[in-house]
Amino acid sequence: MNEDCEATTNDVEQLVKSSQTGDRGAFDQLVRLYQHRAIRLAVGILGDAEEAAEAVQAGFVKAYLGINKLKEPTRFETWLLRIISNAAISQRRTAERRKSRIRTVDCNECGKAVLPADKGIAEELKGAIQKAMSKLSKKEARAISLFGLEDLSQEQAAEIMGCSTEAVRWYVFKARKKLKVLLKEYLE
């Protein structure tokens, strides 16, 4: 939830109920409340803010069109984050297809060389993290990104992913293990 726009569970429940009756203003408020959290999750999965913004927009549209299907308004957050994470995974596929259409130079051979010199280590690291995230499986990327969200319990993460908490921990473990290898030079 956006820090600038704190709302109680009751407020959210009321906004969801109003949205379900067709109150567009209420849904706009929900967007403002959750866009920060949604972007954070999508950036975690995609490693890129622009792609994340695209996924978040698609996710909110899907949530708006399907809000009447939500039976328990109190579970809005979990429901929304599941939609956002699915949209991010879908966006990742789109990005992968886009990349495969464009002839690219193998970055294993010249990865750092293609980066402009003035962008520095921070930009290089961002690129490396984005690339490393794309090497994770969908479930690994989703699990480690959900773990990055503050205030999100393991149970909620499991519910969003549709698996057990043990499975979530396992995917996080595997993700970290892969990232350890992929980002080796930045960890030393």
């Binding site: 950036v43 069109l65 970290r176 930045y186 960890l187």
Partner: protein
Amino acid sequence: MNENKEKIDFLLERNTAERMAGVDWAALNTEISARLDQAEKSKTPFIRRQIIFKAAAGIAAAAVVLIAVMVGTNRPAGLQINNGKKAAVEIIDGKGTASIEIKTAAKCDVKIMDLNGGLEKDYNRGTWIIISAPKPVLADNGKEKEAMSIIYLF
């Protein structure tokens, strides 16, 4: 491993924070709002399409059920009579009686006699179908005419 775990988490956290720092929240909000407006406009035809689709699916399902019931019923396709005409017969399930109308003999009675009772499952002897007129009719036997009530015996 724990140290690396912390470092990885720190790197991811830093990356997310840095990338989020570049997000134009107002622009994002405007963009989402525009997409929602667009979705709202297409929502009505979408819902209408859904209703039409559901209605069509319901009709199709009802038709399938009706066909299945008709096929599953032991409905005679029509009885062939001597002059090649077909007589429409009411639905009769198994043993029972019904009425039949044959042009040449007016209204007739149909009696079905199930002869399978007491036989083994796979041994079918067949069923007698007796078509008779309620009143004796004058049958044309070629040379002479005689009154008869049983018209057909299958």
